[in-house]
Protein backbone atom coordinates (compact mmCIF):
# COMPACT_ATOMS: atom_id res chain seq x y z
CA UNK A 1 0.00 0.00 0.00
CA UNK A 2 1.35 3.37 -0.91
CA UNK A 3 1.93 6.10 1.66
CA UNK A 4 1.21 8.94 -0.73
CA UNK A 5 -0.97 8.54 -3.77
CA UNK A 6 -1.44 11.47 -6.11
CA UNK A 7 -3.79 11.08 -9.04
CA UNK A 8 -4.62 13.52 -11.83
CA UNK A 9 -3.63 16.45 -9.65
CA UNK A 10 -3.95 19.94 -11.14
CA UNK A 11 -3.41 23.29 -9.51
CA UNK A 12 -3.35 26.92 -10.58
CA UNK A 13 -2.81 30.21 -8.80
CA UNK A 14 -5.35 32.97 -9.32
CA UNK A 15 -4.01 35.58 -11.67
CA UNK A 16 -6.46 38.22 -10.56
CA UNK A 17 -10.13 39.01 -10.84
CA UNK A 18 -11.74 40.20 -14.00
CA UNK A 19 -15.14 41.75 -13.78
CA UNK A 20 -17.32 41.10 -16.75
CA UNK A 21 -20.79 42.58 -16.71
CA UNK A 22 -22.67 41.01 -13.85
CA UNK A 23 -20.24 38.25 -13.06
CA UNK A 24 -16.79 37.75 -11.68
CA UNK A 25 -14.41 35.48 -13.51
CA UNK A 26 -11.03 34.33 -12.42
CA UNK A 27 -8.12 33.44 -14.61
CA UNK A 28 -5.57 31.01 -13.30
CA UNK A 29 -1.91 30.46 -13.89
CA UNK A 30 -1.63 26.73 -14.09
CA UNK A 31 1.40 25.22 -12.40
CA UNK A 32 0.59 21.53 -12.10
CA UNK A 33 -1.33 19.64 -14.73
CA UNK A 34 -2.66 16.09 -14.46
CA UNK A 35 0.07 14.83 -12.17
CA UNK A 36 -0.08 11.22 -10.94
CA UNK A 37 2.39 9.24 -8.86
CA UNK A 38 2.60 6.92 -5.89
CA UNK A 39 5.14 6.80 -3.09
CA UNK A 40 5.75 3.58 -1.18
CA UNK A 41 6.48 3.60 2.58
CA UNK A 42 10.07 4.28 3.68
CA UNK A 43 11.04 5.81 0.36
CA UNK A 44 13.27 8.79 -0.32
CA UNK A 45 11.60 10.93 -3.00
CA UNK A 46 13.28 13.96 -4.51
CA UNK A 47 11.28 16.55 -6.43
CA UNK A 48 13.41 18.52 -8.88
CA UNK A 49 12.86 20.87 -11.81
CA UNK A 50 13.35 24.46 -12.96
CA UNK A 51 11.95 27.44 -11.03
CA UNK A 52 8.24 27.97 -11.36
CA UNK A 53 7.32 24.40 -12.24
CA UNK A 54 5.41 23.89 -9.02
CA UNK A 55 7.78 22.02 -6.71
CA UNK A 56 6.93 24.04 -3.61
CA UNK A 57 3.29 24.15 -4.71
CA UNK A 58 3.24 20.36 -4.79
CA UNK A 59 4.74 20.25 -1.30
CA UNK A 60 2.08 22.66 -0.07
CA UNK A 61 -0.61 20.49 -1.62
CA UNK A 62 0.81 17.40 0.08
CA UNK A 63 0.48 19.05 3.51
CA UNK A 64 -2.86 20.69 2.64
CA UNK A 65 -1.60 24.25 2.87
CA UNK A 66 -3.16 24.47 -0.59
CA UNK A 67 -6.21 22.72 -1.98
CA UNK A 68 -6.05 21.07 -5.43
CA UNK A 69 -8.10 22.45 -8.31
CA UNK A 70 -8.83 18.93 -9.43
CA UNK A 71 -7.53 15.46 -8.80
CA UNK A 72 -6.90 13.81 -5.48
CA UNK A 73 -4.23 13.18 -2.88
CA UNK A 74 -4.44 10.18 -0.59
CA UNK A 75 -2.33 9.76 2.52
CA UNK A 76 -2.24 6.18 3.85
CA UNK A 77 -5.17 5.30 1.59
CA UNK A 78 -7.44 8.03 2.98
CA UNK A 79 -8.28 11.22 1.10
CA UNK A 80 -6.23 14.13 2.45
CA UNK A 81 -9.31 16.29 2.99
CA UNK A 82 -10.80 13.65 5.29
CA UNK A 83 -8.13 14.30 7.95
CA UNK A 84 -8.61 16.77 10.78
CA UNK A 85 -5.79 19.30 11.23
CA UNK A 86 -4.53 17.31 14.18
CA UNK A 87 -4.73 13.94 12.46
CA UNK A 88 -2.89 15.21 9.39
CA UNK A 89 -0.15 16.69 11.58
CA UNK A 90 0.28 13.21 13.07
CA UNK A 91 0.93 11.83 9.57
CA UNK A 92 2.79 14.59 7.75
CA UNK A 93 5.43 17.01 9.04
CA UNK A 94 6.84 19.89 6.99
CA UNK A 95 10.15 21.73 7.00
CA UNK A 96 9.63 24.93 5.06
CA UNK A 97 12.29 27.24 3.73
CA UNK A 98 13.98 28.72 6.73
CA UNK A 99 13.00 31.90 8.46
CA UNK A 100 13.67 33.52 11.80
CA UNK A 101 10.69 33.88 14.12
CA UNK A 102 9.96 37.29 15.62
CA UNK A 103 10.04 36.31 19.27
CA UNK A 104 13.12 34.82 20.88
CA UNK A 105 11.99 31.28 21.54
CA UNK A 106 14.75 28.89 22.53
CA UNK A 107 15.48 25.81 20.45
CA UNK A 108 13.90 23.41 22.90
CA UNK A 109 10.80 25.57 23.32
CA UNK A 110 10.42 25.57 19.57
CA UNK A 111 10.85 21.83 19.16
CA UNK A 112 8.38 21.25 22.00
CA UNK A 113 5.75 23.22 20.07
CA UNK A 114 5.49 20.25 17.70
CA UNK A 115 3.76 18.50 20.61
CA UNK A 116 1.12 21.25 21.06
CA UNK A 117 -1.86 19.07 19.97
CA UNK A 118 -0.92 16.53 22.66
CA UNK A 119 -0.66 18.97 25.58
CA UNK A 120 -2.80 18.22 28.61
CA UNK A 121 -5.73 20.25 29.86
CA UNK A 122 -3.44 22.72 31.63
CA UNK A 123 -1.52 23.36 28.43
CA UNK A 124 1.66 21.56 29.40
CA UNK A 125 3.59 18.71 27.82
CA UNK A 126 3.75 15.23 29.31
CA UNK A 127 6.87 13.23 30.14
CA UNK A 128 6.38 11.22 26.95
CA UNK A 129 6.37 14.47 24.96
CA UNK A 130 9.66 15.47 26.60
CA UNK A 131 11.22 12.15 25.67
CA UNK A 132 10.14 12.45 22.05
CA UNK A 133 11.60 15.96 21.93
CA UNK A 134 14.88 14.88 23.51
CA UNK A 135 15.17 12.09 21.00
CA UNK A 136 14.57 14.52 18.12
CA UNK A 137 17.22 16.86 19.50
CA UNK A 138 19.66 14.00 19.82
CA UNK A 139 18.96 12.67 16.31
CA UNK A 140 19.63 16.06 14.76
CA UNK A 141 22.60 16.77 17.02
CA UNK A 142 20.99 19.97 18.29
CA UNK A 143 20.82 19.11 22.00
CA UNK A 144 23.98 21.09 22.76
CA UNK A 145 22.32 24.40 21.90
CA UNK A 146 18.85 23.55 23.14
CA UNK A 147 18.59 26.64 25.34
CA UNK A 148 19.90 29.13 22.77
CA UNK A 149 17.62 31.24 20.59
CA UNK A 150 17.24 30.46 16.92
CA UNK A 151 18.63 33.82 15.86
CA UNK A 152 21.94 33.04 17.53
CA UNK A 153 22.48 29.91 15.43
CA UNK A 154 24.13 29.47 12.03
CA UNK A 155 22.12 28.49 8.94
CA UNK A 156 23.04 24.81 9.17
CA UNK A 157 22.18 24.65 12.86
CA UNK A 158 18.83 26.36 12.28
CA UNK A 159 17.91 23.95 9.53
CA UNK A 160 18.65 21.05 11.89
CA UNK A 161 16.41 22.64 14.52
CA UNK A 162 13.52 22.87 12.04
CA UNK A 163 14.10 19.23 11.12
CA UNK A 164 14.13 18.35 14.83
CA UNK A 165 10.76 20.04 15.25
CA UNK A 166 9.35 18.07 12.33
CA UNK A 167 10.77 14.84 13.79
CA UNK A 168 9.12 15.62 17.13
CA UNK A 169 5.77 15.37 15.38
CA UNK A 170 6.53 11.65 15.07
CA UNK A 171 5.15 11.34 11.56
CA UNK A 172 5.67 8.70 8.92
CA UNK A 173 6.04 11.36 6.22
CA UNK A 174 8.52 14.22 6.23
CA UNK A 175 8.27 16.98 3.62
CA UNK A 176 11.19 19.35 3.11
CA UNK A 177 11.43 22.45 0.92
CA UNK A 178 15.00 22.98 -0.26
CA UNK A 179 16.53 21.86 3.01
CA UNK A 180 20.09 22.62 1.93
CA UNK A 181 19.74 25.80 -0.09
CA UNK A 182 21.81 28.10 2.17
CA UNK A 183 24.25 25.53 3.45
CA UNK A 184 27.91 24.85 2.72
CA UNK A 185 29.07 21.54 1.26
CA UNK A 186 29.65 19.81 4.56
CA UNK A 187 26.29 20.81 5.97
CA UNK A 188 24.52 19.86 2.74
CA UNK A 189 25.65 16.25 3.00
CA UNK A 190 25.10 16.43 6.76
CA UNK A 191 21.40 17.16 6.25
CA UNK A 192 21.00 14.49 3.57
CA UNK A 193 22.80 11.92 5.73
CA UNK A 194 20.45 12.74 8.56
CA UNK A 195 17.39 12.35 6.33
CA UNK A 196 18.67 9.08 4.90
CA UNK A 197 19.25 7.78 8.42
CA UNK A 198 15.68 8.68 9.37
CA UNK A 199 14.48 6.78 6.32
CA UNK A 200 16.54 3.69 7.02
CA UNK A 201 16.30 3.56 10.81
CA UNK A 202 12.79 4.90 11.42
CA UNK A 203 11.17 3.89 8.17
CA UNK A 204 10.11 7.44 7.38
CA UNK A 205 9.06 8.53 3.91
CA UNK A 206 11.13 11.54 2.93
CA UNK A 207 9.94 13.99 0.26
CA UNK A 208 12.50 16.69 -0.47
CA UNK A 209 12.32 19.52 -3.00
CA UNK A 210 15.75 20.50 -4.24
CA UNK A 211 17.72 22.24 -6.96
CA UNK A 212 20.81 20.20 -6.32
CA UNK A 213 20.27 17.24 -8.62
CA UNK A 214 23.73 15.82 -8.04
CA UNK A 215 23.28 15.62 -4.30
CA UNK A 216 19.70 14.42 -4.69
CA UNK A 217 20.71 11.62 -7.04
CA UNK A 218 23.07 10.22 -4.41
CA UNK A 219 20.32 9.80 -1.84
CA UNK A 220 17.01 9.49 -3.69
CA UNK A 221 15.26 6.21 -4.39
CA UNK A 222 12.68 7.79 -6.66
CA UNK A 223 12.60 11.14 -8.41
CA UNK A 224 9.93 13.41 -9.73
CA UNK A 225 11.30 15.74 -12.38
CA UNK A 226 8.89 18.55 -13.26
CA UNK A 227 9.25 20.32 -16.58
CA UNK A 228 8.30 23.89 -17.49
CA UNK A 229 5.79 22.72 -20.12
CA UNK A 230 3.74 20.80 -17.55
CA UNK A 231 5.38 17.50 -18.42
CA UNK A 232 6.92 15.33 -15.74
CA UNK A 233 9.05 12.24 -15.28
CA UNK A 234 8.61 9.94 -12.35
CA UNK A 235 10.70 6.89 -11.62
CA UNK A 236 13.92 5.52 -10.18
CA UNK A 237 16.47 8.28 -9.67
CA UNK A 238 19.03 6.77 -12.04
CA UNK A 239 16.48 6.47 -14.84
CA UNK A 240 15.03 9.94 -14.52
CA UNK A 241 18.35 11.78 -14.22
CA UNK A 242 19.80 11.23 -17.68
CA UNK A 243 21.86 13.86 -19.43
CA UNK A 244 19.34 14.21 -22.22
CA UNK A 245 16.50 14.66 -19.75
CA UNK A 246 18.35 17.21 -17.63
CA UNK A 247 19.42 19.26 -20.63
CA UNK A 248 15.90 19.29 -22.00
CA UNK A 249 14.10 20.11 -18.77
CA UNK A 250 16.50 22.76 -17.52
CA UNK A 251 17.39 24.10 -20.96
CA UNK A 252 21.09 24.15 -20.27
CA UNK A 253 24.11 22.36 -21.70
CA UNK A 254 25.76 20.03 -19.20
CA UNK A 255 28.92 18.08 -18.79
CA UNK A 256 28.29 14.62 -17.46
CA UNK A 257 30.64 12.24 -15.68
CA UNK A 258 30.33 9.00 -13.81
CA UNK A 259 31.69 7.84 -10.46
CA UNK A 260 30.85 4.20 -9.86
CA UNK A 261 27.15 3.83 -10.54
CA UNK A 262 26.49 7.49 -9.93
CA UNK A 263 26.13 10.00 -12.75
CA UNK A 264 26.96 13.68 -12.14
CA UNK A 265 25.98 16.74 -14.13
CA UNK A 266 27.76 20.07 -14.32
CA UNK A 267 25.90 22.90 -16.07
CA UNK A 268 27.85 24.83 -18.69
CA UNK A 269 27.12 28.45 -19.48
CA UNK A 270 28.13 30.18 -22.69
CA UNK A 271 30.89 32.21 -21.06
CA UNK A 272 32.12 29.51 -18.70
CA UNK A 273 35.89 28.91 -18.96
CA UNK A 274 36.63 25.94 -21.23
CA UNK A 275 32.99 25.62 -22.11
CA UNK A 276 33.92 25.15 -25.79
CA UNK A 277 36.57 22.55 -25.05
CA UNK A 278 34.18 20.23 -23.31
CA UNK A 279 31.78 18.51 -25.58
CA UNK A 280 28.43 18.36 -23.95
CA UNK A 281 27.99 14.72 -24.76
CA UNK A 282 30.92 12.43 -23.98
CA UNK A 283 29.34 9.52 -25.83
CA UNK A 284 29.12 11.35 -29.16
CA UNK A 285 32.75 12.50 -28.77
CA UNK A 286 33.87 8.91 -28.46
CA UNK A 287 32.19 8.03 -31.70
CA UNK A 288 34.15 10.58 -33.70
Amino acid sequence: MSTIEVSHLSFGYPDGHHFAIGRKTETRVEVLRDLSFEVMPATFLVIAGPNGTGKTTLLNLLCRSLVPKSGSIRIDAAAIESYSTEALAAKVAVVRQEFVPIFGFSVIEMVLMARTPYYGQMGFESKADREIVNEALKATDTAQFASRTLASLSGGERQRVFIARALAQNTAILLLDEPTSFLDLKHQVGIYDLLKRMQLEKGKTIVAVTHDINLAAQYADVTLLLGADGSYQYGRAKDVFSQEQIERVFGVRTFSGKVGQQKFFIPLGKFAKDSRQINSNPDSRRQK
Binding site: N60, F103, I108, M113, A146
Partner: protein, 344 residues
Protein backbone atom coordinates in the same frame (compact mmCIF):
# COMPACT_ATOMS: atom_id res chain seq x y z
CA UNK B 1 20.08 22.68 29.72
CA UNK B 2 17.73 25.57 30.30
CA UNK B 3 14.94 24.88 32.75
CA UNK B 4 11.65 24.50 30.97
CA UNK B 5 8.43 26.09 32.09
CA UNK B 6 6.30 23.74 34.17
CA UNK B 7 2.81 24.16 35.54
CA UNK B 8 4.25 24.37 39.05
CA UNK B 9 6.79 27.03 38.19
CA UNK B 10 4.12 29.03 36.41
CA UNK B 11 1.85 28.75 39.43
CA UNK B 12 4.57 30.04 41.77
CA UNK B 13 5.37 32.98 39.51
CA UNK B 14 1.75 33.98 39.00
CA UNK B 15 1.07 33.76 42.74
CA UNK B 16 4.10 35.89 43.61
CA UNK B 17 3.07 38.44 41.00
CA UNK B 18 -0.43 38.53 42.50
CA UNK B 19 1.06 39.13 45.96
CA UNK B 20 3.09 42.05 44.59
CA UNK B 21 -0.07 43.41 42.96
CA UNK B 22 -1.95 43.20 46.28
CA UNK B 23 0.85 45.02 48.09
CA UNK B 24 1.01 47.74 45.43
CA UNK B 25 -2.77 48.18 45.57
CA UNK B 26 -2.67 48.43 49.34
CA UNK B 27 0.17 50.97 49.44
CA UNK B 28 -1.34 53.07 46.65
CA UNK B 29 -4.73 53.14 48.34
CA UNK B 30 -3.17 54.87 51.33
CA UNK B 31 -1.44 57.50 49.20
CA UNK B 32 -3.13 60.63 47.96
CA UNK B 33 -3.95 64.25 48.64
CA UNK B 34 -5.83 63.40 51.81
CA UNK B 35 -3.76 61.22 54.07
CA UNK B 36 -5.96 58.53 55.55
CA UNK B 37 -5.16 56.30 58.45
CA UNK B 38 -5.58 52.59 58.12
CA UNK B 39 -6.65 52.34 61.74
CA UNK B 40 -9.60 54.65 61.14
CA UNK B 41 -10.68 52.71 58.07
CA UNK B 42 -10.56 49.39 59.88
CA UNK B 43 -12.43 50.78 62.86
CA UNK B 44 -15.40 51.45 60.60
CA UNK B 45 -15.39 47.89 59.24
CA UNK B 46 -15.80 46.49 62.76
CA UNK B 47 -18.29 48.76 64.48
CA UNK B 48 -21.02 51.13 63.39
CA UNK B 49 -19.69 54.55 64.20
CA UNK B 50 -20.95 57.80 62.88
CA UNK B 51 -19.64 59.23 59.61
CA UNK B 52 -15.96 58.37 59.25
CA UNK B 53 -14.25 60.50 56.56
CA UNK B 54 -11.24 58.18 56.25
CA UNK B 55 -13.48 55.22 55.52
CA UNK B 56 -15.58 57.21 53.07
CA UNK B 57 -12.54 58.31 51.07
CA UNK B 58 -11.06 54.83 51.11
CA UNK B 59 -14.16 53.00 49.96
CA UNK B 60 -15.87 55.60 47.77
CA UNK B 61 -12.86 57.22 46.10
CA UNK B 62 -9.60 55.31 46.38
CA UNK B 63 -10.74 51.70 46.11
CA UNK B 64 -12.90 52.03 42.97
CA UNK B 65 -10.18 53.90 41.20
CA UNK B 66 -7.53 51.35 42.07
CA UNK B 67 -9.74 48.47 41.01
CA UNK B 68 -10.45 50.30 37.77
CA UNK B 69 -6.73 50.75 37.09
CA UNK B 70 -6.24 47.01 37.68
CA UNK B 71 -8.94 46.05 35.20
CA UNK B 72 -7.76 48.43 32.50
CA UNK B 73 -4.07 47.63 32.94
CA UNK B 74 -4.62 43.87 32.80
CA UNK B 75 -6.94 44.08 29.80
CA UNK B 76 -4.64 46.29 27.74
CA UNK B 77 -1.49 44.29 28.51
CA UNK B 78 -3.11 40.94 27.68
CA UNK B 79 -4.65 42.19 24.48
CA UNK B 80 -1.26 43.66 23.50
CA UNK B 81 0.29 40.21 23.94
CA UNK B 82 -2.38 38.64 21.75
CA UNK B 83 -2.18 41.20 18.93
CA UNK B 84 1.62 40.95 18.84
CA UNK B 85 1.40 37.19 18.47
CA UNK B 86 -1.46 37.09 15.96
CA UNK B 87 -0.06 39.82 13.74
CA UNK B 88 3.49 38.53 14.23
CA UNK B 89 4.53 42.11 14.74
CA UNK B 90 6.40 43.39 17.79
CA UNK B 91 5.03 46.88 17.13
CA UNK B 92 1.41 45.81 17.46
CA UNK B 93 -0.63 47.10 20.39
CA UNK B 94 -4.31 46.81 21.38
CA UNK B 95 -5.18 49.88 19.33
CA UNK B 96 -3.54 48.83 16.08
CA UNK B 97 -6.69 47.56 14.38
CA UNK B 98 -8.69 50.73 14.79
CA UNK B 99 -10.08 50.30 18.30
CA UNK B 100 -8.72 53.66 19.41
CA UNK B 101 -10.11 55.71 16.55
CA UNK B 102 -13.42 53.83 16.60
CA UNK B 103 -13.82 54.48 20.31
CA UNK B 104 -12.71 58.09 19.84
CA UNK B 105 -15.29 58.60 17.13
CA UNK B 106 -18.00 57.09 19.32
CA UNK B 107 -17.00 59.40 22.15
CA UNK B 108 -17.05 62.60 20.16
CA UNK B 109 -20.41 61.72 18.63
CA UNK B 110 -21.80 61.14 22.12
CA UNK B 111 -20.30 64.40 23.38
CA UNK B 112 -21.61 66.48 20.51
CA UNK B 113 -25.08 64.98 20.61
CA UNK B 114 -25.27 65.85 24.30
CA UNK B 115 -27.21 62.77 25.35
CA UNK B 116 -28.06 62.57 29.00
CA UNK B 117 -29.34 59.02 29.47
CA UNK B 118 -27.47 56.23 31.18
CA UNK B 119 -27.25 52.52 30.49
CA UNK B 120 -26.52 50.32 33.53
CA UNK B 121 -24.94 53.32 35.15
CA UNK B 122 -22.78 54.10 32.16
CA UNK B 123 -22.71 57.47 30.48
CA UNK B 124 -23.47 57.71 26.75
CA UNK B 125 -19.77 58.43 26.21
CA UNK B 126 -18.78 55.02 27.56
CA UNK B 127 -21.52 53.21 25.67
CA UNK B 128 -20.65 54.91 22.39
CA UNK B 129 -16.93 54.31 22.90
CA UNK B 130 -17.58 50.62 23.51
CA UNK B 131 -19.80 50.30 20.45
CA UNK B 132 -17.40 52.34 18.30
CA UNK B 133 -14.45 50.18 19.35
CA UNK B 134 -16.12 46.85 18.61
CA UNK B 135 -17.76 48.10 15.42
CA UNK B 136 -14.45 49.30 14.06
CA UNK B 137 -12.61 46.07 14.83
CA UNK B 138 -15.38 44.15 13.15
CA UNK B 139 -15.12 46.40 10.09
CA UNK B 140 -11.33 45.96 9.93
CA UNK B 141 -11.69 42.20 10.36
CA UNK B 142 -14.12 42.05 7.43
CA UNK B 143 -11.86 44.15 5.20
CA UNK B 144 -8.94 41.93 6.19
CA UNK B 145 -10.92 38.83 5.22
CA UNK B 146 -11.56 40.17 1.74
CA UNK B 147 -7.85 40.65 1.12
CA UNK B 148 -6.95 37.02 1.56
CA UNK B 149 -6.92 33.89 3.62
CA UNK B 150 -3.80 34.46 5.62
CA UNK B 151 -4.61 38.07 6.06
CA UNK B 152 -2.08 39.51 8.46
CA UNK B 153 -0.81 42.20 6.10
CA UNK B 154 -4.30 42.92 4.85
CA UNK B 155 -5.52 43.32 8.42
CA UNK B 156 -2.69 45.65 9.35
CA UNK B 157 -3.25 47.82 6.29
CA UNK B 158 -7.01 47.87 6.87
CA UNK B 159 -6.32 48.91 10.47
CA UNK B 160 -4.01 51.71 9.41
CA UNK B 161 -6.43 53.01 6.80
CA UNK B 162 -9.46 52.87 9.08
CA UNK B 163 -7.48 54.53 11.88
CA UNK B 164 -6.40 57.33 9.55
CA UNK B 165 -9.89 57.82 8.15
CA UNK B 166 -11.62 57.90 11.53
CA UNK B 167 -8.95 60.19 12.96
CA UNK B 168 -9.73 62.62 10.17
CA UNK B 169 -13.43 62.43 11.00
CA UNK B 170 -12.61 62.97 14.68
CA UNK B 171 -10.55 66.04 13.80
CA UNK B 172 -13.35 67.37 11.64
CA UNK B 173 -15.91 66.90 14.41
CA UNK B 174 -13.54 68.43 16.97
CA UNK B 175 -13.06 71.48 14.82
CA UNK B 176 -16.80 72.16 14.65
CA UNK B 177 -17.43 71.33 18.31
CA UNK B 178 -17.89 73.91 21.06
CA UNK B 179 -14.85 74.47 23.22
CA UNK B 180 -16.41 72.76 26.24
CA UNK B 181 -17.21 69.69 24.16
CA UNK B 182 -13.72 69.74 22.67
CA UNK B 183 -12.18 69.75 26.11
CA UNK B 184 -14.25 66.78 27.25
CA UNK B 185 -13.21 64.85 24.15
CA UNK B 186 -9.52 65.62 24.44
CA UNK B 187 -9.56 64.79 28.14
CA UNK B 188 -11.08 61.43 27.28
CA UNK B 189 -8.64 60.79 24.44
CA UNK B 190 -5.73 61.18 26.86
CA UNK B 191 -6.98 58.38 29.08
CA UNK B 192 -8.31 58.89 32.56
CA UNK B 193 -9.24 56.99 35.66
CA UNK B 194 -12.42 58.29 37.18
CA UNK B 195 -14.34 56.96 40.12
CA UNK B 196 -16.99 54.48 39.07
CA UNK B 197 -19.88 52.60 40.65
CA UNK B 198 -19.03 49.20 42.06
CA UNK B 199 -21.59 47.62 39.75
CA UNK B 200 -19.69 48.88 36.71
CA UNK B 201 -16.41 47.77 38.19
CA UNK B 202 -17.60 44.23 38.88
CA UNK B 203 -19.07 43.93 35.40
CA UNK B 204 -15.84 45.13 33.83
CA UNK B 205 -13.72 42.95 36.10
CA UNK B 206 -15.84 39.92 35.26
CA UNK B 207 -15.54 40.47 31.51
CA UNK B 208 -11.80 41.04 31.63
CA UNK B 209 -11.10 38.11 33.96
CA UNK B 210 -13.17 35.74 31.83
CA UNK B 211 -11.39 37.02 28.72
CA UNK B 212 -7.95 36.49 30.21
CA UNK B 213 -8.86 32.94 31.24
CA UNK B 214 -10.06 32.21 27.70
CA UNK B 215 -6.83 33.59 26.27
CA UNK B 216 -4.74 31.57 28.71
CA UNK B 217 -6.59 28.48 27.56
CA UNK B 218 -5.41 29.00 23.96
CA UNK B 219 -1.93 30.27 24.88
CA UNK B 220 -0.05 27.13 23.72
CA UNK B 221 -1.66 27.60 20.31
CA UNK B 222 -0.61 31.25 20.33
CA UNK B 223 3.00 30.09 20.68
CA UNK B 224 2.68 28.04 17.52
CA UNK B 225 0.76 30.74 15.64
CA UNK B 226 3.51 33.28 16.26
CA UNK B 227 5.53 31.22 13.74
CA UNK B 228 2.95 31.78 11.02
CA UNK B 229 -0.37 30.13 10.39
CA UNK B 230 0.83 27.62 7.80
CA UNK B 231 3.52 26.47 10.17
CA UNK B 232 1.13 26.23 13.11
CA UNK B 233 -1.41 24.29 11.05
CA UNK B 234 1.18 21.76 9.92
CA UNK B 235 1.99 21.23 13.61
CA UNK B 236 -1.65 20.29 14.16
CA UNK B 237 -2.98 23.56 15.59
CA UNK B 238 -6.50 24.57 14.58
CA UNK B 239 -5.47 28.07 13.51
CA UNK B 240 -8.85 29.31 12.32
CA UNK B 241 -10.44 28.61 15.69
CA UNK B 242 -7.52 29.98 17.68
CA UNK B 243 -7.34 33.14 15.59
CA UNK B 244 -11.05 33.85 15.85
CA UNK B 245 -11.20 33.32 19.62
CA UNK B 246 -8.05 35.34 20.22
CA UNK B 247 -9.19 38.25 18.08
CA UNK B 248 -12.70 38.38 19.46
CA UNK B 249 -11.62 38.15 23.09
CA UNK B 250 -8.73 40.61 22.76
CA UNK B 251 -10.98 43.12 20.98
CA UNK B 252 -13.69 42.70 23.60
CA UNK B 253 -11.49 43.26 26.64
CA UNK B 254 -9.83 46.22 24.94
CA UNK B 255 -13.24 47.72 24.21
CA UNK B 256 -14.21 47.23 27.87
CA UNK B 257 -11.00 48.93 29.00
CA UNK B 258 -11.40 51.80 26.55
CA UNK B 259 -15.02 52.43 27.52
CA UNK B 260 -13.99 52.55 31.19
CA UNK B 261 -10.97 54.80 30.96
CA UNK B 262 -10.49 56.30 27.51
CA UNK B 263 -7.33 55.80 25.52
CA UNK B 264 -4.60 54.91 27.97
CA UNK B 265 -1.57 54.48 25.77
CA UNK B 266 1.69 52.61 26.14
CA UNK B 267 0.55 49.86 28.54
CA UNK B 268 -0.48 47.47 25.79
CA UNK B 269 2.76 47.93 23.87
CA UNK B 270 5.36 48.12 26.58
CA UNK B 271 4.20 45.73 29.29
CA UNK B 272 4.19 42.64 27.01
CA UNK B 273 7.69 43.50 25.80
CA UNK B 274 8.98 44.12 29.31
CA UNK B 275 7.61 40.80 30.55
CA UNK B 276 8.94 39.01 27.47
CA UNK B 277 12.39 40.51 27.99
CA UNK B 278 12.56 39.30 31.56
CA UNK B 279 10.66 36.01 31.45
CA UNK B 280 10.84 34.89 27.81
CA UNK B 281 8.31 34.62 25.00
CA UNK B 282 6.26 31.56 26.09
CA UNK B 283 2.64 32.75 25.95
CA UNK B 284 1.49 30.40 28.70
CA UNK B 285 3.55 32.52 31.05
CA UNK B 286 3.63 35.79 29.13
CA UNK B 287 -0.13 36.18 29.15
CA UNK B 288 -0.94 35.90 32.88
CA UNK B 289 2.22 37.72 33.95
CA UNK B 290 1.60 40.56 31.49
CA UNK B 291 -1.92 40.92 32.84
CA UNK B 292 -0.69 41.22 36.42
CA UNK B 293 2.25 43.47 35.56
CA UNK B 294 -0.06 45.65 33.46
CA UNK B 295 -2.35 46.02 36.48
CA UNK B 296 0.56 46.87 38.79
CA UNK B 297 1.94 49.37 36.30
CA UNK B 298 -1.34 51.18 35.80
CA UNK B 299 -2.21 51.28 39.52
CA UNK B 300 1.19 52.84 40.22
CA UNK B 301 0.95 55.22 37.27
CA UNK B 302 -2.53 56.37 38.30
CA UNK B 303 -1.38 56.96 41.87
CA UNK B 304 1.40 59.15 40.49
CA UNK B 305 -1.15 60.95 38.33
CA UNK B 306 -3.18 61.66 41.47
CA UNK B 307 -0.37 62.98 43.65
CA UNK B 308 2.27 64.61 41.44
CA UNK B 309 0.46 67.87 40.78
CA UNK B 310 -2.02 67.58 43.67
CA UNK B 311 -4.58 68.89 44.24
CA UNK B 312 -4.91 68.86 40.44
CA UNK B 313 -4.67 65.53 38.58
CA UNK B 314 -2.81 64.44 35.47
CA UNK B 315 -4.37 62.21 32.82
CA UNK B 316 -2.93 58.76 33.50
CA UNK B 317 -1.98 58.35 29.84
CA UNK B 318 0.59 61.10 30.28
CA UNK B 319 2.17 59.29 33.23
CA UNK B 320 2.28 55.88 31.53
CA UNK B 321 4.18 57.32 28.58
CA UNK B 322 6.58 59.49 30.59
CA UNK B 323 7.42 56.82 33.18
CA UNK B 324 7.07 53.79 30.94
CA UNK B 325 9.29 55.00 28.11
CA UNK B 326 12.59 55.37 29.97
CA UNK B 327 11.87 52.31 32.11
CA UNK B 328 11.38 50.23 28.99
CA UNK B 329 14.59 51.56 27.45
CA UNK B 330 16.57 50.45 30.49
CA UNK B 331 15.09 46.96 30.21
CA UNK B 332 15.79 46.88 26.51
CA UNK B 333 19.45 47.75 26.92
CA UNK B 334 19.92 45.26 29.75
CA UNK B 335 18.21 42.30 28.14
CA UNK B 336 18.64 42.69 24.39
CA UNK B 337 20.65 39.50 24.08
CA UNK B 338 17.60 37.50 25.10
CA UNK B 339 15.40 38.40 22.19
CA UNK B 340 15.73 37.05 18.71
CA UNK B 341 14.23 39.92 16.78
CA UNK B 342 16.76 42.36 18.18
CA UNK B 343 19.98 40.39 18.23
CA UNK B 344 19.57 39.22 14.65
Amino acid sequence: MKELLTARKLGVRVTSALVVLAVVMFVCSLMGTESISLKAVLAQVGGQEAINPDYEIFVQVRLPRIILACIVGAALACSGVVFQALLRNPLADPYILGISSGAGLGTIIAVISGFSWTLWGRSPIAVFAFAGALGTVWLVWCIGRVTGKSHVTGLLLAGVVVNAFFSAVIMFLTSIAKSQQMQTTIFWLMGNMTEEDFLVLWLGAGCVAAGIFALFYISPQLNAISFGEDDARSMGVNTARTRTIAFAVAALITAVAVSLSGLVGFVGLVVPHAVRLVFGPDHRQLLPLSGIVGAIFLVAADTLARIVVAPAQLPVGVVTAIVGGPFFLVLLVKHTHKVGWLSK
